[in-house]
């Protein structure tokens, strides 16, 4: 039987790490994808996500209930902001952005479709990278992760009006 988030959080507050790891399994893909789209580098995204789960586990007793997903994404978003700030101070080229040998397309996809998909993804990522971080975060949460405006407002700690103006 699938336990709901609030039930798992209550167990976590009593020190049950297994319950927390169940939450990790549930939201790790979402948190990682948010970090990846924000930072554009898989290693940095892994670090930001791992740090977010560590912080969440350390501070779970301070979580006052409500939407766990929004709380976790808020921590991930803060980590991403920190990383971007650090990157601004000490700019470096991630290894991933250097030219690399293309991978073979999956068998279910024709080579043409595969190349088109890669190009489209690259263009979207380029477009996302060109907008300011706060706006990028709102777009990722709304149009990629499919969060509601209310959840986005919680994650970004701002009003609904601000969310609306950032997405417009």
């Amino acid at each position: 039987m699938r336990r709901d988030d609030s039930d798992l959080v209550e167990s976590c507050k009593k020190g049950d790490l297994c319950s927390f790891n169940e939450l990790v399994e549930r939201y790790q893909k979402m948190a990682y994808n948010l970090a990846l789209r924000m930072l554009g580098d898989s290693y940095a995204a892994e670090d930001a996500t791992q740090d977010a789960f560590f912080s969440a586990w350390k501070n779970i007793r301070g979580f006052r209930g409500g939407n766990f997903r929004a709380w976790l994404l808020q921590i991930t978003a803060n980590n991403c902001r920190d990383q971007l700030r650090k990157r601004k101070r000490h700019p470096a080229i991630p290894l991933e952005s250097l030219p690399f040998e293309p991978k073979a397309p999956p068998s279910s996809e024709s080579p043409e479709d595969y190349v088109l998909r890669l190009e489209m993804t690259a263009q979207i990522e380029e477009g996302l990278a060109s907008i300011p971080p706060q706006q990028r975060m709102a777009v990722i949460l709304c149009d990629i992760q499919g969060l509601s405006y209310e959840e986005i407002a919680k994650v970004m700690k701002c009003s609904l009006g601000t969310v609306r103006s950032r997405i417009s």
Partner: protein
């Protein structure tokens, strides 16, 4: 008149365009919704903008969700039974630093009197020789003979010899510098040890995470 109408439409466009995202997400109130729909029915440019926005959002939806290459599950870490000296070291470093600042401030504002020259002029012991004396017998001032039964210092020896007012001044002037150097050394030593231990613990934490 056409020009005025053009400006009016432009003004409406600038009001409508920021609302297109919210319109797509059905986040407009009924009044705003009616306004936007009315404008879209007559404005080709805004209709085009809306189509473009819908295509972009559709592309964003098609962006694949990337699977992380590893799990972010947290491993059970047994709490360390060994007590760490870090809090104590940090406290000691802070205390030494505060004392150093206080000593420097007092020295700079002349709270410690520094005038041993009067002794030199009167042929008394120089500040260097005085340091030699202070370790010896003379340093034991006031002596037993100089004390009255009630335990007070007699006035005969109040103006000359060790234990006099000038001597006390010289003593104060003498220990200020060694105190400052000692405290500075202590701050550097404690700060170094604390930073070293902190870096070591941070490194081991990172290793544990990986």
């Amino acid at each position: 008149m056409w020009a005025a109408l053009g400006i009016f439409r432009k003004d409406n466009c600038s009001k409508t365009k920021p609302k297109l995202s919210a319109y797509m997400d059905r986040r407009l109130n009924p009044q705003e919704l009616a306004e936007v729909e009315r404008h879209l029915a007559n404005c080709h440019s805004c209709q085009k903008e809306l189509d473009c926005l819908e295509t972009t959002v559709a592309l964003l939806h098609r962006l694949p969700q990337v699977l992380p290459s590893r799990s972010f599950r947290i491993a059970q870490v047994e709490p360390s039974s060994r007590r760490t000296a870090m809090p104590l070291l940090r406290l000691a470093t802070a205390a030494a630093a505060v004392m150093l600042v206080m000593a420097f401030t007092a020295d700079l504002t002349n709270l410690f009197p520094t005038s041993p020259s009067s002794l030199d002029q009167e042929g008394g012991p120089s500040s260097t020789s005085y340091w030699g004396d202070i370790d010896g017998k003379d340093a034991e001032s006031p002596t037993a003979e100089n004390q009255t039964d009630s335990g007070q210092i007699s006035s005969d020896n109040a103006s000359d010899g060790p234990g006099s007012e000038e001597d006390l001044e010289a003593t104060e002037a003498g220990w200020v510098r060694p105190l400052e150097y000692g405290l500075a050394g202590l701050v550097i030593l404690l700060g170094g040890v604390t930073s070293g231990l902190w870096l070591k613990s941070k490194g081991s934490q990172k290793q544990r995470r990986n």
